[in-house]
Symmetry: C2
């Protein structure tokens, strides 16, 4: 079930609707950083995400037009994900929020998830 598509109070309501979900913003950022990613690559880049959750949130992002999913007729299966134009512009809009969050982490001494990419 992707975003509810209204009614919305305002723009922020609509945007939050599209980007809410535990893993969505992180998926968007992973794709922004790497351009094109395959399923397993995304999973390795997001420690702690289950395959089920990854599939689910990728499907929703796709339905909302933020992520492009390309299936190659190969065996074993090969599926690639990348940001759409809309996804790119969303990430740009999220950048100030990300900076605000970095500042907040510094201020409250929050820990950073540690992993070896």
């Amino acid at each position: 079930m992707a975003a509810r598509r209204g009614p919305y109070f305002c723009g922020i309501d609509a945007a939050m609707d599209v980007v809410s979900g535990k893993w969505k913003s992180l998926i968007l950022w992973e794709l922004a950083e790497h351009g094109v990613r395959r399923f397993a690559q995304l999973r390795r880049g997001l420690p702690g995400v289950s395959e089920k959750m990854l599939v689910q949130q990728l499907r929703e992002l796709e339905e909302d037009g933020l992520v492009h999913r390309e299936v190659f007729p190969e065996v074993p299966p090969r599926v690639e994900y990348a940001l759409t134009e809309d996804g790119v512009s969303l990430n740009e809009a999220l950048a100030p929020l990300g900076e605000w969050g970095v500042e907040r982490m510094r201020r409250i001494g929050a820990e950073k998830v540690v992993y070896a990419p």
Copy 2:
């Protein structure tokens, strides 16, 4: 239960943690528009929110340092809410996202919540 305070993957993770909640971003915007609001004013400005939800999310916003709550020693009770500096800077960081959302609403033809302020 306010934001989880880490560990976070990145800044956006930390920011989303603080702002997620059905009514939080709308509360932030209501306070940004009006400066200082009393409980009932906030409630009237957010059609559909229950008192319980409003209290809950205000308390969390307060705990996270985004909203300032001032209790006046009066009867009937008088409590005022306003954005903290941090809340103000968060709203500034949310502005590009709000614009992105407005654009999205236009594009998908989403309805806008209609109410008489």
